[in-house]
């Protein structure tokens, strides 16, 4: 509880926490939606916001507000799948690489570096073109997770490298702790904060990439996400027709989401790293 209180003293954490809570409530509201998100023509088309339709309706005959609740929920689901699965890969790669060292380390880090260097976006485009017919939230999440681990594996590796040099590692090895137990019981607690802050960053990256792929029409367009919502709005010329409520909703929601996720991750990692904490207090 004290940690929470300390974190809240950072205005960035407080703000991002509030925004994320609001967005989560919005996502939760989708379960109470009066409309089926895949159904077209449920409401009159192209109405501007009113008491009945809070954020107006779109050219598919869908209520923008309720559509947005589904969009936020689905975007969060994709990013959570991508974030969690890629965390598992990053932790395994980072820990094995850092702990084993030698040739294993070099091969794994080379693979990771290649992923960082290659224009991933293009590879993602190629892949999603081919699996488009099977595309759903899970497939997209997994696809993103296979490419999102490289940088974070590197971070975890360097943490393990420094932990390996500490005395307690030697003590544990001498007292007969196995590798697996060692990693899970001794190293994991140290790595947890790092894993958490990279999770938030990775989620933000996944949402952004999903939106980009959706704009290119490379995802399943009948599942509402922030990206597909924006795609529909753009392809129906919502900008030229001045339907700001339709185009604005996914743009504003995603901007809030990106900034909130980033501020949360920055404030948490600054809190965890005492050096920057001192700098902030001192500055």
């Amino acid at each position: 509880m004290k940690v929470f209180k300390d974190l809240f003293r950072d205005y960035r954490f407080a703000l991002s926490f509030c925004v994320l809570v609001v967005l989560l409530i919005l996502a939760g509201l989708s379960f109470f939606s009066p409309y089926d998100p895949t159904l077209w023509g449920a409401v009159p088309r192209d109405l501007s916001p009113s008491a009945k339709y809070w954020l107006g309706t779109d050219s598919n005959g869908q209520d923008v507000f309720w559509q947005a609740t589904f969009a936020v929920r689905n975007s969060l689901i994709i990013s959570l799948i991508a974030g969690l699965v890629s965390r598992v890969i990053a932790v395994i790669v980072g820990m094995v690489s850092g702990y084993k060292g030698g040739a294993t380390d070099r091969v794994l880090m080379f693979l990771g570096d290649s992923l960082l260097v290659i224009p991933l976006f293009l590879i993602m485009v190629m892949l999603s073109m081919l699996v488009r017919q099977y595309m759903n939230l899970l497939v997209l999440g997994l696809l993103l997770s296979f490419f999102g681990w490289a940088w974070d594996a590197r971070l975890i590796r360097s943490l393990i490298l420094s932990l390996r040099e500490r005395d307690f590692t030697q003590t544990a090895i001498l007292s007969g702790t196995g590798t697996l137990r060692m990693v899970l019981n001794e190293y994991m607690p140290f790595a947890m904060p790092l894993i958490f802050s990279t999770l938030i960053n990775n989620m933000s990256w996944a949402i952004g990439l999903e939106m980009t792929l959706a704009i290119l029409g490379l995802v399943n367009m009948s599942i509402p996400t922030l990206g597909t919502m924006l795609n529909w709005a753009i392809s129906y010329q919502a900008i030229l027709l001045m339907r700001w409520w339709w185009i604005g909703t996914p743009v504003v929601l995603s901007i809030f989401l990106f900034i909130a996720l980033y501020w949360m991750s920055v404030s948490i990692s600054e809190y965890l790293d005492p050096r920057t904490r001192i700098q902030r207090v001192g500055a």
């Binding site: 290659i118 892949l127 980009t212 743009v251 700098q279």
Partner: protein, 350 residues
């Protein structure tokens, strides 16, 4: 081994060590990354359960494009050859590489029978121009402003810039560019909405033409410079704040070295090294970002070419752009990496 005082012997030794320790590993890595990337491109269409040729044709039909039977046969033949579907996988794989070495990416289906190379060549100058200028400006401006903001971290302007960077930084290229487009081209109509030049204008070396091209590139370039600059700004500011706390800076201050000299020669110069490595590592992302930004502004470079290829299901063209980009980016990174020793004497002599 020559005596320690012998300058010639030492120099030769260090040059050899440099080649062995720095140059050769970098080159090996360069070729391995290209090998891995191209191999991935080769295998991706083969991993899907259905026949890529039929799949591409279906896709083309689904988009309602009309092709006469003659063209269709040619396309099937070209597709089969491009995917190299004759012979065993190993044969196909070597054939694939053989074509790449000749710089042959096959034929674009939707601008049949234009070769992919030709299309890439037309689009490339636009992307290159945009990418080089924006990377240069975002890197230099981001580093200079970030360095000053780090040195004067307590000033109010430094904090304001920091907050701006905190807001801009997390936005993905698409959303940021799209926001710029909405604000500066639709809400206040300062800049053109799309394109690389006015429709119907012919390429010439007149002042009018250059002015027009520059005018159309302002928004995409501005988006890229602000987004890229924000990242540079933040990392530079952090590094400078850390360098600032080092003993030699404190000592220089106490020793009465002028402030401009400390900032320019001591602090920023030291902080610049990780920024060069950072630039090399993020070139792939910057490139992807430029493609996405081009799509937002319909800027006639590789990004818009890619967009058209996706819309029309032109898989060959997408593949060509991807393979070309892998070559281009890894080479660019290699070049940045090879200039690194110029800035860091430790790499040269260690």
């Amino acid at each position: 081994m020559p005596a320690q005082g012998d300058p010639v012997g030492r120099k030769e030794g260090s040059a050899l060590a440099f080649v062995k320790r720095y140059l050769i590993p970098r080159l090996i890595q360069y070729f391995l990354v290209i090998f891995l990337g191209i191999t991935a491109v080769f295998f991706i269409p083969r991993m899907t359960p259905n026949d890529p040729v039929q799949r591409t044709l279906q896709e083309m039909k689904a988009r309602g494009s009309y092709l006469d039977p003659g063209t269709m046969d040619e396309i099937i033949a070209d597709l089969t050859e491009m995917y190299g579907l004759g012979g065993s996988w190993l044969d196909q794989y070597f054939a694939f590489w053989g074509r790449l070495f000749q710089g042959d990416f096959g034929v674009s289906f939707f601008q049949f029978p234009t070769r992919v190379n030709v299309l890439i060549n037309i689009a490339l100058p636009w992307t290159l121009g945009l990418l080089l200028t924006t990377t240069f400006f975002s890197w230099t401006l981001g580093n200079i402003i970030g360095g000053l903001a780090g040195y004067y971290a307590r000033r109010s302007w430094s904090r304001v810039l920091d907050t701006v960077a905190m807001i801009v930084r997390p936005l993905p290229y698409y959303i940021f560019s799209f926001g710029m487009l909405l604000l500066l081209a639709y809400v206040v109509r300062w800049f053109p909405v799309s394109g690389g030049m006015e429709i119907g204008r012919t390429v010439s070396f007149s002042w009018e033409f250059i002015k027009d091209v520059l005018w159309h590139s302002v928004l995409p370039a501005l988006s890229l410079v602000i987004l890229g600059g924000a990242v540079m700004f933040q990392t530079m500011k952090l590094i400078v704040q850390n360098v600032n706390a080092e003993n030699f800076v404190q000592y220089a201050k106490l020793g009465g070295v002028t402030e401009s000299r400390i900032v320019g020669k001591y602090v920023i110069r030291n902080a610049l090294l990780p920024q060069i490595t950072g630039l090399a590592l993020s070139l792939g992302q910057i490139f992807s970002g430029a493609l996405i930004t081009e799509i937002v502004f319909s800027y006639p470079g590789l990004g818009t070419l890619l967009y058209n290829a996706i819309i029309t299901g032109d898989y060959n063209l997408i593949m060509g752009i991807t393979v070309f980009s892998i070559f281009a980016i890894t080479t660019a990174i290699l070049i940045v990496d090879l200039t690194y020793p110029l800035f860091d004497p430790r790499v040269r002599y260690n």
